[in-house]
């Protein structure tokens, strides 16, 4: 493998990695901070991508569409969490296992509805930054990946500020550690988690818009992203936003190098391989406390 090819793989990996971080950040809140086994996260991503496609068919720019669906996705997240809370979490100890079944069911329903409404064909959106690229010496970086990088960095900065500077943000980081203690300082742990899950789902809406900006989508695309997003969140260490960005970049770079060296068919195995490796060697993740 030549140095040029390696370097190109590396740079490309960083951009793709930022994209992975952006699509994982919602899960980093839902699973990492709140301990909710949200395996429907990738389905919500694909759902948001299709909503972006739907708005795109009315001529709305996909990034703007991502912002428009923020609010309905916030509401969706709040409702889904509330149901999960009333039906499982409130009743206690084995919420984790039952919760996985619940979210698996949601993921399945989303996929079926998307297949019925939009069909099985790939869908994509059009925008000035999709299809064109920026020349960088010998390399050409697609604009859509530059957009992904900017959005990822923006999301991480905004969430970091929110989680460290606001009362609601600090309560979100505390709630899984000791819900009773949160009550004792005057916060409502259930409302805190509901709000946080809403925010996580809103962040996922932006991730979904990026998903269809970066590549065409199909209803079963969640299967590819469930591994990648969980890999990024676990690698980051649960609940660390900056860690999510760095872990996303690591996954992107490793995937890109494996792809360059061994061919495209190996790339999907990287996320699961890395996930198992992290769980085995450093279960608290790279930036976990």
């Amino acid at each position: 493998m030549s140095i040029d090819l390696l370097l190109e793989g590396l740079i490309f990996g960083v951009f793709v990695g930022c994209f992975y971080a952006a699509v994982s950040i919602g899960l980093s809140i839902a699973f990492g901070l709140l301990d909710v086994p949200h395996i429907a996260h990738a389905s919500f991503l694909v759902l948001a991508a299709y909503m972006t496609f739907l708005l795109g068919s009315y001529g709305i720019d996909p990034l703007l569409a991502g912002l428009i669906i923020l609010i309905p996705f916030f509401a969706l997240g709040a409702v889904v969490y509330r149901f999960y809370y009333e039906a499982f979490e409130k009743r206690g100890t084995d919420a984790g296992v039952r919760g996985i079944a619940f979210f698996f069911g949601i993921a399945f329903i989303v996929q079926v509805i998307l297949s019925l409404v939009f069909g099985l064909d790939q869908r994509s959106v059009a925008a000035s930054y999709i299809g064109s690229s920026l020349g960088l010496g010998e390399m050409r970086i697609p604009w859509r990946l530059i957009v992904a990088l900017l959005v990822a960095v923006g999301l991480v900065l905004a969430l970091n500020l929110y989680l460290s500077r606001t009362f609601q943000g600090r309560a979100m980081r505390a709630v899984a550690q000791d819900p009773w203690a949160l009550k004792a300082i005057g916060a409502n742990p259930v409302m805190t988690k509901q709000w946080a899950f809403g925010l996580a789902t809103a962040a996922t809406a932006i991730g979904g818009a990026l998903l269809i900006i970066v590549s065409p989508v199909e209803p079963s695309l969640d299967r590819v992203y469930i591994g990648r997003t969980f890999c990024v969140v676990v690698l980051a260490g649960l609940g660390s936003m900056s860690g999510t960005l760095i872990a996303g970049i690591m996954l992107g770079v490793i995937e890109s190098l494996v792809l360059t060296a061994f061919g495209a068919s190996w790339a999907p195995a990287v996320a699961f391989g890395l996930l198992l490796l992290v769980l085995g060697l450093r279960p608290q993740g790279l930036f976990g406390r």
Partner: protein
């Protein structure tokens, strides 16, 4: 600053297990009241009733605060905190994965406390200098005594009028118990608090209490109007000294 709690004929428990059997007591404005008694006699259950964490099956708890009269048996925990009741929970209940400073800032979650946040933070760092030195450290990595002080400071961050302290001495070395109890007194004087403290270590509790109640089997078995009276009580010697 008026802040008074009146408990009348309280019955409460957990499911089929009845813990409080007609308990009556009161905490008047500006007092430090000790709640004494050995394990399992209802001290913590009473505390939980006061903050709406356990619902009594019978009886009343009335809070008079700032000219308002509130039925505490109807409130949820965060609503009671919002009124100006702050609790230092048994076992401290810090957020172990958050830093010392983040724990303190969370203490000021209640709306009335947010405008005093920098003043209260400065006060806490003044009263507990080691907290300032360790402000970036994870609270779970401190010693038990330090965590107890942080729990006290966190409760103060909410600018309370009434401070409930549940078993501050549990798990602490004797020297730390003494320090923690003295700090409660200091904070009380500084902030003009009304304090109710449940404590098994009655010698330590008596150092700062104005008066106290001894609970036995979920009822007030003995009520003393002064620390001296508590000290001399035959019941105390019987319970604690086996005499």
């Amino acid at each position: 600053m008026e802040a008074k709690i009146t408990v009348r004929d309280l019955y409460a428990g957990y499911g089929a297990v009845q813990v409080l059997h007609g308990l009556s007591m009161e905490v008047r404005s500006g007092e430090t009241v000790a709640l004494l008694g050995t394990n399992g006699n209802g001290k913590s259950t009473l505390m939980k009733c006061l903050i709406g964490d356990v619902r009594p099956t019978h009886g009343s708890i009335t809070l008079e605060i700032d000219g308002r009269v509130v039925d505490l048996t109807k409130l949820r925990t965060h609503e009671a905190v919002e009124l100006g009741i702050s609790i230092v929970p048994e076992g401290r209940r810090l957020f172990p994965q958050l830093s010392v400073e983040e724990n303190l800032l969370l203490g000021a979650y209640r709306k009335a406390a947010r405008r005093n946040i920098s003043k209260n933070l400065d006060f806490c760092y003044g009263a507990f200098p080691f907290l300032k030195e360790r402000r970036r450290q994870l609270s779970g990595s401190m010693s038990g005594g330090q965590q107890q002080m942080l729990a006290l400071a966190r409760a103060i961050m909410s600018s309370p009028k009434i401070l409930l302290v549940d078993e501050p001495s549990v798990g602490l070395a004797p020297i730390m118990v003494s320090q923690a109890i003295s700090k409660i007194r200091e904070l009380k004087d500084e902030f003009g608090l009304t304090v109710l403290m449940a404590e098994q270590n009655f010698q330590e509790a008596l150092r700062i209490a104005d008066r106290g109640y001894v609970l036995v089997h979920g009822k007030v078995a003995f009520s003393a109007d002064s620390a001296v009276e508590l000290q001399d009580s035959a019941l105390i010697s019987q319970l604690y000294l086996g005499g």
